[in-house]
Amino acid sequence: MTEKVKVAVIGPGNIGTDLMYKLLRSKQLELVLLAGVEESEGILRARALGVQTVIGDLRPVLEDASIRIVFDASSAKAHLRHARKLEAAGKVAIDLTPAAVGPYVVPSVNLGSLHGAKNFNMVTCGGQATVPIVYAINRAAGARYAEMVSAIASKSAGPGTRNNIDEFTRTTARALSVLGGAKRSKAIIVLNPAEPPMIMTNTVYVEVDRPDEAAIRSSVEQIVAEVQQYVPGYRLRVPPQLEGNKVTTIVEVEGAGDFLPKYSGNLDIITAAAVGVAEKLAAGWSRKEATA
């Protein structure tokens, strides 16, 4: 049996805590350290689960040579500082902030083409949910224009999202083009306070070159199955509907309920995708090391 790859998490907020629960379940990854800036609920929870913690000091993360992957769930500003240090220390960084130091990654779309990257940016929750659909439609039918509308429960939109909502629309729209392959793109986000909280829904509109319904449907179904491998709650809600050259598809994301409630699919998809990236890297390393 191969040894688990050791990882650390920076930032014990909602995202960091949810990551922690997912990592504790991972068969390929071992969470050895959680770093925070102050005593917090997240730190206390980690200790209670037997995870080693460190406060206000990144050195234990940087100096532990056994740690190969570091998830950064702090803030964009902090990640700009951390990124250099992590790289100098030889760690692979998986960035869950909007800092975008490294290339965007959506596991089902471009992870395979990012050999040797040392810093991966997880785009946005909406990007993780909709880039695969645009990508699948583009490969089947050519995407001239892609537009997505994410609706998330108000309760699952934290201060990070609220204080910088423009970041979501800009970054997501960019990812629909850069990774999805659409020539032009637009992103919209809507917060809905309904009770009980609604689960995250994402509508994707794509204007295509070749409106071939069968090809589009099978391409979309295939990628949905791939995303489901790392985000079990990812589901096709309305399969591709064609109207002229416009394709409308709706997907929903139910969270795994690890730490955050199930309606927080928007948070779950980004932590699940981040763990998905790390697990694929770990699997690649263990194959390489086995044959070496």
Partner: protein, 341 residues
């Protein structure tokens, strides 16, 4: 009760009216309406895609003109009024606001769902930095109780909003509902309070008057009532009613009537009436801009538009969720297939 004697009036024909026009106002139409309204004494003339700056999209309908082109068409004919734009955070971004300021916009309405004012802090701050008046605009106010509406209005005020608005985006409130919410807001903030009506239950003008009775001092109107759903408070009617009630405003009653009758009426695609679907929106509390999208989805999926609207109301959909019309129509069509199978 102290009633404000002066009422500030904003015309939204070239913004809310963009919905029934399919976001296809031409340069000539914009210049004619804006010029007429300016001469008729309007203090604020709002011009944008119906869903605000950046609203041109598949989800909300594409604009014939870009935001920039619309402002360029209006700016030269506006001499005394304040050119005003709308921005919904999550749809439009700060760069859109900077563009509008550069093109002469002097005021902006930053609109959020009634419980989500905190997503607008950065946009309000930017507007003030650009030297603009910044209105905080609480959409779908019927969905929250008065104390919540007041708390959200206070948030807007704390970010620097110069006026806060209670908006009945679904045209579903009755005068009592309006009074409860507007009064709670008037009591909670120091800045002036406004009210934006929709006419789905034929209450737009009556509700506007109700808002004034509890201390509102800003009202919206549109020529011929042109707007989403069954439209808005009809500007020229509002002008006459304000006059009869003894309120002062900057409106020239006759000139406002002339703009509505001679300039706006001839460009309308259909008369602004309370159709059965618009009535259903008011009845079920559904966002007025869903009207035409619902009619289209009903036809495409072969279901009754009223069933779609009732389901949207049940699901408590908020402004901007036009995409869920397809979701509901698809689901209703699937259910029917299962039943007949």
């Amino acid at each position: 009760m102290s009633e404000p004697s002066f009422v500030h009036v904003l015309d939204a024909t070239l913004r809310d009216g963009s919905h029934p026009m399919g976001h296809s106002f031409t340069r000539e139409q914009i210049a004619a309406v804006a010029g007429g309204l300016d001469a008729a004494g309007l203090e604020y003339i709002e011009i944008s895609h119906g869903d605000g700056l950046g609203g041109s999209s598949i989800n909300y309908g594409r604009s014939l003109l870009t935001d920039e082109e619309m402002l360029e068409a209006a700016a030269p004919v506006i001499h005394q009024a304040k050119l005003t734009v709308l921005l919904l955070p999550g749809i439009g971004i700060k760069e859109d606001l900077e563009m509008a300021a550069k093109h002469g916009a002097k005021a902006v309405r930053i609109a959020t769902h009634v419980t989500e004012a905190d997503i607008a802090a950065q946009h309000i701050e930017l507007a003030r930095k650009l030297g603009m008046e910044a209105f905080g605009f609480l959409m779908m106010s019927h969905m929250a109780p008065p104390e919540v509406v007041a708390a959200q209005a206070r948030l807007f005020e704390s970010y620097g909003a110069t006026t806060v608005y209670v908006a009945d985006s679904a045209g579903t409130m009755l005068p009592g509902d309006v009074k409860a919410r507007v009064k709670a807001v008037v009591d909670a903030v120091k800045v002036p309070v406004g009210f934006h009506a929709h006419n789905n239950l034929c209450m737009a003008v009556a509700n506007s008057v109700a808002a004034l009775e509890v201390g509102a001092s800003f009202l919206d109107g549109t020529c011929r009532g042109l707007g989403a759903g069954a439209g808005n408070a009809q500007l020229e009617v509002l002008a006459g009613v304000l006059d009869k009630l003894g309120y002062r405003s900057s409106l020239d009653f006759y000139k406002v009537m002339d703009v509505a009758e001679e300039i706006v009426a001839p460009m309308m695609k259909r008369p602004q009436v309370v159709s059965k679907n618009a009535l259903m929106m008011g009845y079920a509390g559904v966002y007025s801009s869903f009207l035409l999208f619902t009619a289209r989805a009903a036809e495409r999926f072969g279901v009754d538009a009223r069933d779609i609207l009732v389901e949207l109301g049940k699901r408590r959909m908020v402004g901007g969720q036009e995409d869920m019309i397809i979701d509901v129509a698809y689901r209703l069509a699937e259910q029917r297939k299962e039943k007949t199978a």
